[in-house]
Symmetry: D2
Subunit: 303 residues, 4 copies
């Protein structure tokens, strides 16, 4: 069977929004292959390129909106991530002035000089992503940005929030299911910013950025609403909370995981709170975006 291939027909989107026209309609149950640009708009490919001159801000172009037939506010969209392929043989990262967790930014401004700009081009080959002999890392692809449209807002593609978005969380990877709230008719799904791999926190603000082909299948859970994005893997339930300061992201992630345990698995909320105190897991997705993203997890065997 041939997959439906989705390529952005015109300009890429830089917001998650219901105010744009859908680029394609997809049926629940349908498997599609979505082509995405990298976070540099595919415009940075050489060590001598200067993102601060080439790009306007930090662009993060998105493919979408994709209209999901039958999706209504109050439903949940389940995105089964099936496969990620790079559509080129290199990945790019960079130190860019004003971006990152260890440098002054517009959100945390300082009277200090920014970090020197530097572009890192990695070769993708043989299951490795390689900058030089020492800096060579396994191919661990995932989606940095995956979202539905907010109810009335049009949010920057740099922002992670209740609708998903730029969560930069390595758990949004093939084999896992990402659950997103449906806020508008048709859901208006967006994705982009695929990574060949990333450390926890995405410290410099750029992972191993790639242009990619993402294969996934959409399912609708009718009449089931969620407050924050969720992920399910073979072994774990996860919630992603995005906020500043980071402790609020942690609170959101654990609180929503308690809600999930209570609603779907019959837990008393206080017992769920106690259980997570003893066997919950929490990792840092990003510590660089407009909101920080933390991931709370529970092994299904403890449910």
């Amino acid at each position: 069977m041939k997959l439906k291939e989705i390529r952005q027909p015109g300009a890429y989107s830089y917001v998650f929004s219901k105010y744009a026209d859908p680029v394609v309609t997809v049926q629940p149950g349908e498997t599609v292959a979505i082509y995405t640009k990298d976070a540099f708009e595919d415009r940075v490919s050489k060590p001598t390129d200067r993102p601060s001159q080439i790009l306007e801000g930090d662009p993060n172009p998105q493919t979408g909106p994709i209209y999901i037939e039958g999706a209504e506010p109050g439903d949940t969209l389940a995105v089964h991530l099936l496969n990620i392929e790079a559509t080129r043989d290199y990945a790019v990262s960079a130190h860019k002035p004003g971006l990152g967790g260890l440098t002054p930014t517009s959100a945390t401004p300082m009277l200090a000089e920014p970090m020197p700009e530097k572009v890192y081009v990695y070769k993708i080959a043989d299951g490795m992503v390689t900058y030089n002999e020492k800096m060579s890392y396994p191919w661990r692809p995932f989606i940095g940005t995956i979202a539905t449209a907010p109810r009335i807002e049009a949010l920057s593609a740099l922002t992670p929030f209740t609708h998903g978005g730029n969560m930069d969380t390595p758990e949004t990877k093939p084999g896992n299911i990402v659950y997103l709230p449906v806020n508008v008719p048709g859901a208006y799904f967006y994705t982009g910013d695929v990574h060949a791999g990333q450390g926890d926190g995405e410290l410099c603000g750029f992972a191993l950025e790639i242009a990619a082909k993402v294969t996934c299948r959409f399912e609708l859970i009718k009449g089931k609403s969620i407050n924050w994005p969720r992920i399910e893997s073979a072994n774990e339930l996860m919630v992603i909370g995005s906020a500043r300061p980071m402790e609020d992201a942690a609170r959101i992630a654990y609180m929503e995981l308690i809600e999930w345990m209570a609603e779907d698995f019959g837990w008393d909320k206080y017992d769920a709170h106690q259980a997570l105190s003893q066997i919950g897991r929490m990792s840092v997705g990003n510590m660089v975006d407009t909101y920080y993203s933390l991931v709370a997890k529970i092994d299904k065997k403890y449910l």
Copy 2:
């Protein structure tokens, strides 16, 4: 060979401090067994006990100070964690008003009623720590609180900071080496608050609290100073940053890991920053103490 056994001779300590007299002197290279009380002062053992009435505040009694012969300011104390045994057959956790990551506290006060108080007593047997049929978790012992004395301060045993302290980080476990800065002659080592297991963040403020016997060996690294606690496992280097808000703990942990990579492994700092962006790991130790503790990690194979 018989181990030197260290039992607190009188009152336990509730601060990390050079202002107390050492309870014992230990030689570098010597292996000792240290007996510790649990965070409830071993005074909570039944579901009907009320910590808010039994205890004054959140006590966290420490065994120490232990004088390390030959330790001088500017050295590093390497604590090789060898073994942890529970000295009783149960662990205790609790929901206590004013403590936890999802409840108003004295640090984040609110005009809201606290969570209902509840004590959870877990049976330790057959490698499991069991509250009931559903809430039964593996035995994963580690030390919640491990510290040297600060240079001039006497800090509460509830506080994690540059000297170690109440980090509540599951990586301070047998098989790993904990590196702590020596700030005063003799280092003045303290430990306590041993856990039979804990989830990331220690959400309710109490892990599976046990009285314990901790076996460890002290080594001195003369003339080597560190700014924050470090941990080394068979496969990883780790730094624990403790601060509020949580993003500052993340910044500290990654920044000090960059310093470690630069000083001991010859990395250019910007390349280390890039490498951690792609393969660094970061988990949440605690999100409940006076400072939050985050752990930055790098797999040694990437050094």
Copy 3:
């Protein structure tokens, strides 16, 4: 001369956005009177009303967008605030579950019961706003929400950010000039959420909310761009920074004030930094909105 009166022709706006059609066009130099609804949509007027049942979320309806003829991205819009009249004789405040600085919210969730709901209706008369004999406060009207449209985002009317918005800062009052960045052609000006008075921080999330008639005059400063909203009074220059955590709002406000002193008054940035260390003023606008707003100030006599 008769003022142009601006009444929202249809539905009020709940976002700041360029994606809506302007309701009216205004010329630079023109003085207009804008009618606004209160933050409760004028639907809460009795102590027995329950905002949590009457309202969907926290609505904050805005009048606009108002198209400013000739405004182009890169310009600054100067809004001369001339007068505020209440269009009714009462003001309303409320304690509403999930809103406020001392209660769990969706941004800082907790496993705790919310504060009891309560509506406070104040009588406006004789220059006072009066709930009862003890709680009677002077008439100190100002605009809670005043904004241009963001460049590509549609942001909730609850949000204060670089474009202005829901800053809830008592300095946006008659006699002062509010400077806002122009991000889109025509600026797309919005305002609403007028207050009969407010304490610093807007602790409970609602000030003395009124329906109002706001008289103001728009001027354009062509080719002059600013990063954050500014206010000028007879004696002071002010910048409003909005962010979480609150220290980032403080950094933004002082950093942008340093920029202002450097660009328009010839200060060396480090000397400006030193001067503000000695005579800068900083107050809390709001500690309840999606971002906190802090106001940095310098007395003009020190320029």
Copy 4:
């Protein structure tokens, strides 16, 4: 009547602590004159001095501990501030690497170069504190650091917390009463770090630092305990909350002010919360110390 003059007999203190011997005993009701060194240990006096080389860290030497006869844990110490004189004719401020609200610090580390070091020496004359023609500011003296000893901790003199400490709040000035909790017998009072003036936030980390003679009178309020420092002026009640992130300092300050209104003035807590929403005031004391200090205020006429 001749005042009792208190000069530190030996080394100044760099912690607030009960572990030191009192330097003098004072009776309740007694008026004393306390001599203090400046935050640079009086060792920086010329523009060419380099604090980073002259000083070890950020010292903040304190005069004390002063034993208050009859003070017992659970009492409150009322310090009536009567007068401040500079004991020299100049004040000093500085930009020092690693200190300040707009520069990377050990608490908020970054891979960025620090701000250039610079010393500002101000002449004190004719009621003005003058660096040059433009940077000349009124004499507005207050105490930067004022504290009792914590119960069991010895906290750095750089730290503001429940016991007072390095709050850097311009309201601790002559004419006002500072209330501090008594945590240990004799209270162990400390003071130092007097300023000839300061902007809100103490942006660069140094105010107009002076050596000084502080005249004050101590009173005891027996059997009255407070949780956080309070200030009373002729017209206002104030509470200082110190925490990170800054919103927690704001929560503490307003929450404790609500407690004060309830306990001493008979307010219902929810009504107090409502009143502060409409007429509370909040300013930023410091945004640079180990904890940030915010001041919540209410005009007495609204009580």
